[in-house]
């Protein structure tokens, strides 16, 4: 059958494995598939922050890894670094740091950030070098591919791929619309 189907849908529901900001009963869930070395994701980072501020507890935000390894040589390791920080309870702190320091993602910088965030640096380094979170990042990536992630960043609003602009106003109105539809 030839199809022109509607926007793609999230195949892996948001759950315990995810890094989540915002209440579980929020009206809207925004999932981002991103790459720490992607300049477009870097541009999206403050936009998401602004939207989180504007929507407050009505929004739940989830970040999943979609490193484009062929295009961005540091993306995979940066994603694993965020996961390694997450294992020590500092995922979002590292996530923010990586997007704010997108131009400095070499291994030694990652170690430096771990120190800045007060992580157990020896453990962080060991886990990073051992590729402990490689399968986890791969799992994120695969879930993105099967959900129709078509580049970075790709956003999903309540499970449906958001194909329009992700500038503040259009993204916010799409989120508000999804919130209203839930009521």
């Amino acid at each position: 059958m030839t199809r022109r189907d509607a926007a793609a849908e999230l195949t892996l529901p948001v759950g315990k494995r995810d890094h989540i900001q915002g209440p579980v009963d929020a009206a809207v869930t925004l999932v981002e598939y991103g790459d720490y070395e992607c300049p477009h994701c870097g541009r999206a980072y403050p936009i998401v922050k602004a939207i989180q501020q504007r929507m407050g507890p009505r929004l739940r935000f989830v970040y999943r890894n979609f490193p484009l390894r062929e295009s961005h040589p540091h993306a995979q390791q940066a994603a694993e670094a965020a996961e390694a920080a997450g294992a020590q309870g500092k995922f979002w702190e590292m996530h923010d740091r990586l997007f704010e320091r997108q131009f400095a993602l070499d291994g030694e910088y990652l170690i430096e950030y771990a120190g800045d965030l007060g992580l157990d640096v020896a453990r962080f380094r060991k886990e990073l070098e051992g590729g402990v979170y490689e399968p986890r990042v791969r799992e994120d990536f695969r879930s993105g591919v099967t959900s129709g992630v078509n580049g970075t960043p790709t956003f999903f609003i309540n499970g449906a791929r958001h194909d329009d602009s992700w500038d503040v106003e259009p993204l916010l109105s799409a989120l508000e619309e999804a919130a209203a539809a839930r009521r």
């Binding site: 059958m1 992630v149 580049g151």
Partner: protein, 162 residues
Amino acid sequence: MADAHPLPAGSQAPDFRLQSAPDQTASLGDYRGQPVILAFYPADWSPVCGDQMALYNEVLSEFEGYGAKLLGISVDGVWCHRAFADGRKLHFPLLADFEPKGAVARRYGVYRDGDGFSERALFVIDGDGIIRWSYVSPIGVNPGADGILRALDAVASEGSPA
């Protein structure tokens, strides 16, 4: 713009032979016995990261898991394709539907008259040369890889029709 009428599932995939490098050609028949993903796209050099071809480059190992061969195809010439593939480090062939321009896209029902390039169209062809899935994406929307993977999954689980 007229609506595209891509060849539907169940059709025999038209064979073709196109240049894949300055000194090389590839034909659909070369890949008989394995699934082929034919990805028509409008042009090389779309200015975004993670564009359609870059995405497929990242997902190539998933396609290969099904034994499938990915062929990109646009009306760009072979030298343009080479520069694009080098620049994006693409690990799959790009075919030049260049002379006569867009002839293969026309046979698959996905040429855009007036624009002079093809739709963003996907075909999954089984090992017997039968189209098993086809899809045309809105021209500005990268279709992703999920539809391809579902189609490959169906081909793998159903096998080829006898």
